[in-house]
Amino acid sequence: MTSSMIPGLWMIIASMLLPVIPNYFRQPAMLLSVFLSSLSLLNGFGTFLTWEILGFNLTLYHSDNLTLPFAIIFHLASLLVIIYGWHNKNLMENMATLAYAGSAIGALHAGDFFSLFIWWEATALTSVFIVLAGNTVSARNSAMRYLIIQVCSGVLLLIGASMMVYQTGNHELTKLDLSSNFGVFIFLAFGIKAAFPFLNGWLQDSYPESSPTGTVALSAFTTKLAIYALARTFPGTETLIWIGAIMTAFPVFFAVIENDLRRVLSFSLNNQLGFMVVGIGIGTELSLNGTVAHAFVHIIYKALLFMSMGAVLHRVGTTKASELGGLYKYMPLTTIFCIIGAMSISAFPLFSGFVAKSLIMSALGGQGLILIYFVLFFASAGVLEHSGIKIPYFAFFAHERKTKVKEAPINMLIAMGVAAFLCIGIGVYPKYLYSILPYSVNYQPYTIDHVISQLQLLVFAILAFLFLVKFKLYPSEIKSTVLNSDWFYRKMLPGIGKPLFQTLQKIIIKFYEVLSILFDLILGRSKKFANLSYIKVTTPGFAGLLMITILFIMLVLAVI
């Protein structure tokens, strides 16, 4: 029975049943559904379920060497999220989380663009409820922006897929390039979810608005699904190397000055995606392995970092660096777990980040891409700055704390403990991770050259930090908003659009006034026509007019 059941579908079914399950059995039921879904991992490779509909052959369940590592880590992340949120009684959030994880797993197994599109939208629609569950006014506003952006990505994917079918008659999930116009649409659709530069605003906008558990769930799936999709359809696209390099470097500066530590982690997430995108861009077996390995370990340590900040939020009520500090005394275990996550993301030898990032760096070195190599080297120092030092330092140290707080709840500690264990386990025994990668690897990360080089970079960067703190050059935390690419649609577009539309509206009203005077002149005393209240400009009417105009222009363009 399981063999032809789409992985992840169990979780979606379970999420729909959650309302009728008594409160105390909800989390166990969620765990059970993840377990049932994970049985699909034993199925091996191949196509297990297709569906012929309207002349299309949809591949609903396909599994191969690229799917497997992502499927494993998505299931693992689901487990961590559920354990971490064991105390969470918010039904909507629980349902959304489970359905979201299920959709993401389903998406991994889609074999064509249309099934991928369905899951792609499913992840968007389910995850928006996780943002909504943040339950504040700003979370609600953020969720609406998030929804618009995510649906945009879905629509672009659908446009691309439709054009592809129209032009080639094929809609299978195969390798594409940017020379075809549908390739560009699909590339952009993936690019939005992978948070390419200037398409990244939604990520830093919405993730920190969610609840402590919500952010952990969000951080694991959407972006890594996009990485998977890019790795499947655009390996070896050179543009990606440059995009990825920019992605690794620019969020670093934003992370330095951001005050909300969960937003710092969102910038850091963006920077980590850059490493994976570079790996896809190179497109060799080694680099693709690097991308997959990096996505795998990244989900664990990023979840761990978000979990530790979630625990802080849960206990203290804020993650603003300017209001935290000195928590090491009250939350010692959370502190230790956070530091393990921080060391993993900074790629210290014997931690999981090291064994994955080395693959990408070696692939770059092997290709002789010296500029990109040093950009990534630079970004590694950046990672250490914002995730390795800033997060633990401002949350747990910085200065002594006066008010007492309790250690994180036991379920949070268990989830963090498991994640921390995996971070170290993978770092010490990388061969298990390497054995599930898409291509067989014979790679040794622990050479003396690598270890010394990396340690020098990290230790001297820490030294630089100590030096800056000592001479009071390190910027203190200030309550603030840092502008990001969401500024364009949150401030700039309304700033231009509102006056523009208001003027337009005024002109149209003027036009109707003139029209009514003309009517008056022509029709004389006929009050029925002279009183033109029924063609008054209303806001919905105006919006409708605009929509029709845009559609008309598109139609004209399409005909041309």
Partner: protein
């Protein structure tokens, strides 16, 4: 009394890092590191690179505040 705690830890930590940094440089003098680019093979290059990058990021970030930083309720208005 309590305030001294964190300061003492910081002192130990600093000493530890300086010791490790020194040790890494000494090792670098004794072995030959193979790297993909000659630049990286220069003795102590990753160390200097790491140090400079870190300072660069922090200083540039500090100045970026002038352009990118707004009040906390910036978007609410």
């Amino acid at each position: 009394m309590k305030n001294n705690n964190l300061k003492t830890y910081a002192k130990y930590f600093t000493q530890f890092i300086i010791a490790v940094a020194g040790l890494l440089l000494i090792i670098d003098f004794t072995i030959y590191r193979h790297a993909y680019f000659h630049l990286e093979e220069i003795i102590g290059f990753p160390a200097i690179f790491g140090f400079i990058c870190f300072v660069f990021i922090v200083i540039v970030g500090k100045h970026l505040r002038k352009i990118l930083m707004r009040k906390e309720d910036y978007y609410d208005k």
